[in-house]
């Protein structure tokens, strides 16, 4: 393998595109989904993805992170009442 690249001097990711999150609630709900996927589904993202597909199909014109929120709400509904110890 060749020498690793240095990051210095290159644009930060957010400048090589657009801002990642437009407001704090978006990063919060993104992180919440990641936490649920990691800690309730063992890292399996497919159950959340299926909810997201459904949420987007239900209201195609809804802003993306609102559909994401609806998907997470629906996924949380499927969790058992009490966490497995």
């Amino acid at each position: 393998m060749s020498t690793p690249l240095s990051l210095s001097g290159l644009d930060l990711p957010r400048r090589n595109g657009e801002l990642v999150f437009e407001s704090p609630w978006q990063s919060t709900v993104f992180g919440l989904a990641a936490a649920v996927i990691d800690n309730a589904f063992g890292g399996d993202r497919e159950p959340f993805r299926q909810q997201l597909v459904k949420a987007i199909a239900a209201e195609p014109g809804r802003p993306y992170w609102e559909s994401w929120t609806a998907a997470l709400e629906a996924l949380v509904e499927t969790l058992p009442e009490r966490p497995v110890p």
Partner: protein
């Protein structure tokens, strides 16, 4: 003393829903302390299109790497330290003078996160998802990427099983550039396939 500034703006409906989710999930012990701050920090400062740009630049300067990248994208991308435990299968599709590739996810927002970060807003919008499949040449032209009529356009619809990344053509006149300099030329949009370099 004025009260102004002491009362934050009332929460919007979606902000209230997110706050409720956060409270519920925290109460159930599913959100370790600092988890959200850490993952946000990573996506805002570490995981982004620069990762993909480094993959592309390496492929441009190292034919052996390029071969591995086109054969087994997941493994070749992991060589540079990108990827994750998610198990996504990465497929890299190469642009040539005759073929232009573009990625889309018609169902939701599947996207090669480890190498491109989070998707731009237009990628998640219904018009892009629908039109890139139906009329890619027209949409690409509208997005500032007109293609000659004899260039074949291949549209790759991402899925739970496969995430695609476009390997753009190396621009002319870059023979003397270093790998790091080349990485600086590679844009997110070129790796989605809605721009050429």
């Amino acid at each position: 003393m004025s009260e102004r500034g002491h009362h934050p703006a009332p929460l919007s409906p979606v902000e209230r829903r997110v706050a409720a989710l956060e409270a519920l999930l925290t109460e159930r012990g599913l959100v370790p302390e600092g988890f959200i701050e850490e993952i946000t920090r990573r996506y805002e400062s570490e995981i982004g299109p620069l990762n993909g740009a480094k993959v592309v630049a390496r492929a441009w300067v190292d034919p052996g790497y390029k071969g591995r990248l086109l054969t087994d994208g997941t493994a070749a991308i992991a060589e540079l330290g990108f990827g994750g435990p998610e198990g996504d299968h990465m497929v890299v599709v190469e642009n040539t003078p005759d073929v232009h590739n573009v990625i889309v996810c018609t169902l939701c927002s599947c996207y090669p996160w480890p190498v491109l970060g989070l998707p731009p807003s237009w990628y998640k919008d219904p018009p892009y998802r629908a039109r890139m499949v139906r009329e890619p040449r027209t949409l690409l032209a509208e997005m500032g990427c007109p293609l000659p009529g004899d260039v074949e356009i291949r549209v790759w619809d991402s899925s739970a099983e496969v995430r695609y990344l476009v390997l753009p053509q190396r621009p002319a006149g870059t023979a003397g550039m270093t790998e790091a300099e080349l990485a600086g030329l590679v844009t997110r949009d070129s790796m989605i396939g809605v721009a050429r370099l």
